[in-house]
């Protein structure tokens, strides 16, 4: 008696990773087709946090729109404020006092460090340092930055600090000593975290060669920010298209070699060091004087259009504003870096394991407030 065994049939199965999932950084959803542990196909689905910021902005005045930008990338609100305000200033041709420019740069760089700390921390958390140890170390440092922000403008996350024509209030008395102290001790902490995990074999095994984004593809897919630089493209708007006072500051642009998850992580860590350098310079050169060109509450931008972009912690954050000369913008377009960076996710994930999905996603550093707007 011989029975012909039917060949074993396997099939892929679908897993909805998100919108409620511990490591999708908010309400992000990936529809994974899995062949066992291997990802066959992936479709990113988002929009769960869509608030229609672009439409809302059309109904608010130019001045009020600053508050909306706070809520895009809520981990680096200062950069968002700044990007929007730069666009308005470009549109209306407003000159900004020198002191305000310096304060803006200080704030933008502080928020870059804060954002990168969060990015790296949650990325390491995704990798399974499951008890949050690295995340909490990063939080600890971020806390100090948030204290600085709170000291300056009274809030910790949604600052609404940078205004058209300057900043809303001058630096408080104790700020410079506090910042100097922070600058003094932060490099030591970054070094410590590098010792902690930089050449941890498990981390290397999980990161090196995973989620490789070749430079030509990164450019083609409009990837920006640390993800682009991780692929080895030296493109940083702070040097390529300097805004504010960045043309006067000296700093390096760290780039990766392989464009894998590890390089993106390293680029973020290095960028923090460079941000500290920038902070040191801008504090040193901080001039006195006015911190704000008065702009009336009923500010009307002249009719026209302007696109201004800056290097936010997540990438190229751009605002394309169209004005018809009225109280509020006619069109308020946000070029959200997280959103566009997600375009490569599918290519990075296919062929990976499930575990690599979260790590790769973490290394892209998306933030749903910005993706969904």
């Amino acid at each position: 008696m011989k029975e012909e065994a039917a060949p074993i049939k396997t099939e892929t199965f679908m897993v909805n990773m998100g919108p409620q999932h511990p490591s999708t950084h908010g309400v992000f959803r990936m529809r994974l087709s899995l062949d066992g542990e291997v990802v066959v196909d992936v479709e990113p689905i988002f929009g769960y946090l869509h608030r229609g910021v672009e439409k809302l902005a059309e109904g608010r005045t130019w001045v009020q729109d600053v508050t909306l930008t706070d809520r895009l990338d809520y981990l680096a609100s200062m950069s968002n404020n700044l990007a929007y305000v730069l666009a308005v200033e470009k549109l209306a041709g407003i000159a900004v006092p020198e002191r305000a420019e310096h304060i803006r740069v200080i704030m933008a760089e502080l928020s870059r460090i804060a954002s990168h700390l969060m990015a790296v921390g949650s990325f390491l958390n995704d990798m399974g340092a499951a008890t949050f140890t690295p995340l909490i170390y990063m939080f600890q440092e971020r806390e100090k930055i948030l204290d600085l922000f709170e000291m300056t403008c009274g809030q910790r996350m949604t600052f609404n600090y940078i205004r058209i024509g300057g900043v809303s209030c001058d630096l408080p008395e104790g700020f410079i000593p506090a910042l100097t102290r922070f600058l003094g001790e932060m490099p030591r902490f970054i070094d410590e975290y590098d010792t902690y995990l930089e050449d941890n074999e498990i981390l290397l095994a999980r990161c090196v060669g995973v989620g490789v984004l070749p430079p030509d593809k990164a450019i083609n897919a409009s990837v920006s920010g640390p993800s682009l630089r991780g692929s080895g493209v030296r493109w940083d708007l702070r040097q390529a298209d300097p805004y504010s006072i960045y043309d006067r500051l000296k700093f390096d642009i760290p780039t990766g070699k392989n464009g894998d998850v590890y390089d993106r992580y390293r680029v973020r860590m290095e960028e923090m060091r460079q941000s500290l350098r920038i902070l040191g310079q801008s504090v040193r050169d901080l001039p006195g004087g006015d911190y704000r060109t008065k702009v009336p509450v009923t500010f009307r931008a002249p009719a026209g259009e302007a696109y201004a972009h800056l290097e936010s912690p997540k990438g190229e954050l751009g605002f394309y504003l169209v004005s018809d000369g009225s109280l509020s913008p006619y069109r308020f377009k946000i070029r959200a870096p997280s959103f566009i960076n997600l375009g490569v996710l599918r290519d990075l994930l296919i062929g990976c394991k499930v575990a690599d999905c979260v790590v790769t996603l973490g290394s892209l550093d998306i933030i749903m407030g910005e993706v969904d707007r």
Binding site: E37, A129, A130, T133, I202, L204, D347, K353, A355
Partner: protein
């Protein structure tokens, strides 16, 4: 018999009670169970507290400190919370298996303690103690798979599949490392193994110790080997769907298992109740807690490996290492007729050399280049 004797060797109490009731076997049994529970329940609560406190301090925060002094009552508070929670079972799951799995997970972890000798007399002197522990200890994975299957949840199933693959892989180095001990001590009985250790086996066989600890970490599914419940990937793995009391049974099973493995390590490598001064069984308990502290420390520090790297590590690193280890131990046992204490001085450098050599040879598997994205259909 003085009071001190009763404290030093609790089995004297048992003997006394048994004599008093007529020496029935079941009296011994019940007393043993009582003693075990008296040890286990507070230990579990303490373990949970210790781990949370260690994590807290590793992370530069306080850890639990609200419930009771130093937060000592935190596990109790957790237990109350968990017991009052609704216990939801997935509608399309397999109800019977779903309910059975948590109990089944808890049982083998607890059964391991039957063979742990607390002192020379406070033990069931099982001649095949080691065999029993290995046999019972690996039962847990059945419960895990059951839970994963019965939940009818893809994450659970993924976790269960990972669990089975992982446990099967790490069982091998685990057993082989125990074999080395058995070779040296010439006995499967844990009491004999302890008595053999005039010098702790940790020093005599550091390589065995390393293999055993790593494999045991994997068996316990603690980081860096916790892929079966990797919370950042597959939510909570096999117990994704569990809530309330059934979840806490899994949770307790995990800690019971951790406690059991700590006890095993303390017994087999750290000399159990030795040095035989003071209250011997307290020595063992202190050692168990020390081992667990190290476990917590590791868990609080390391990220986790990917599933394929995990398997690779088991088969390409630990397994050959275990074989080499057995070879060395066998030669030593044969050549020296016994296992003298001075061998520690030889074995520690030998272990270091072998470990470093193997580590240099070993590479974690890397992913191959991702396949091309298929066209969207």
């Amino acid at each position: 018999m003085s009071f001190w004797d009763y404290i030093k060797d609790l089995s004297n109490i048992a003997r006394r009670v048994a004599e008093w009731t007529g020496g029935e076997w079941w009296v011994y049994g019940l007393l043993g169970l009582l003693a075990l529970l008296l040890f286990l329940v507070p230990s579990l609560l303490a373990l949970i507290w210790i781990e949370r406190k260690v994590f807290g301090r590793l992370q530069v925060r306080y850890g639990p400190n609200r419930a009771g002094p130093f937060g000592l009552l935190q596990p109790v508070a957790d237990a109350i919370k968990v017991m009052t929670k609704e216990d939801v079972a997935p509608a399309r799951g397999d109800r019977l298996l779903f309910r059975l799995a948590p109990a089944l997970a808890f049982m083998p972890a607890m059964a391991i303690f039957a063979a742990i000798p607390f002192t020379r007399n406070m033990a069931v002197n099982l001649d095949i103690g080691v065999l029993y522990i290995i046999a019972v200890g690996s039962l847990g994975v059945i419960a895990v798979f059951m839970a994963g299957w019965a939940s009818n949840n893809k994450y659970s199933l993924l976790g269960a599949m990972r669990a089975v693959a992982q446990t099967v892989s790490y069982e091998l180095p685990l057993v082989l490392s125990v074999l080395a001990i058995v070779l040296a001590t010439g006995s499967l009985s844990l009491v004999k193994i302890v008595e053999y250790q005039t010098v702790p086996l940790l020093l005599l066989q550091p390589l065995t110790f390393f293999i055993f600890v790593v494999a045991a970490l994997a068996e316990l599914n603690r980081t860096p080997f916790d892929i079966m419940e990797a919370d950042s990937e597959i939510v909570a793995g096999y117990h994704t769907e569990y809530s309330g009391m059934s979840f806490s049974l899994f949770y307790l099973a995990e800690y019971t298992h951790a406690l059991a493995v700590s006890a095993l390590i303390a017994t087999m490598f750290l000399g159990g109740w030795k040095p035989d001064v003071g209250i011997p069984w307290l020595w063992l308990i202190v050692k168990i807690y020390l081992v667990f502290l190290v476990f917590s420390w590791i868990r609080g520090t390391l990220p986790r490996l990917r599933v394929d790297q995990l398997m690779g590590f088991a088969w390409k690193f630990l397994f050959p290492l275990a074989l080499i280890n057995i070879l060395i131990v066998a030669i030593e046992v044969q050549a020296l007729e016994g296992f003298p204490g001075w061998l520690a001085l030889v074995n520690i450098p030998v272990a270091a050399i072998i470990l470093i050599g193997m580590a240099r040879l070993f590479r974690f598997g890397r992913v191959t280049a991702p396949a091309r994205a298929p066209e969207r259909g």
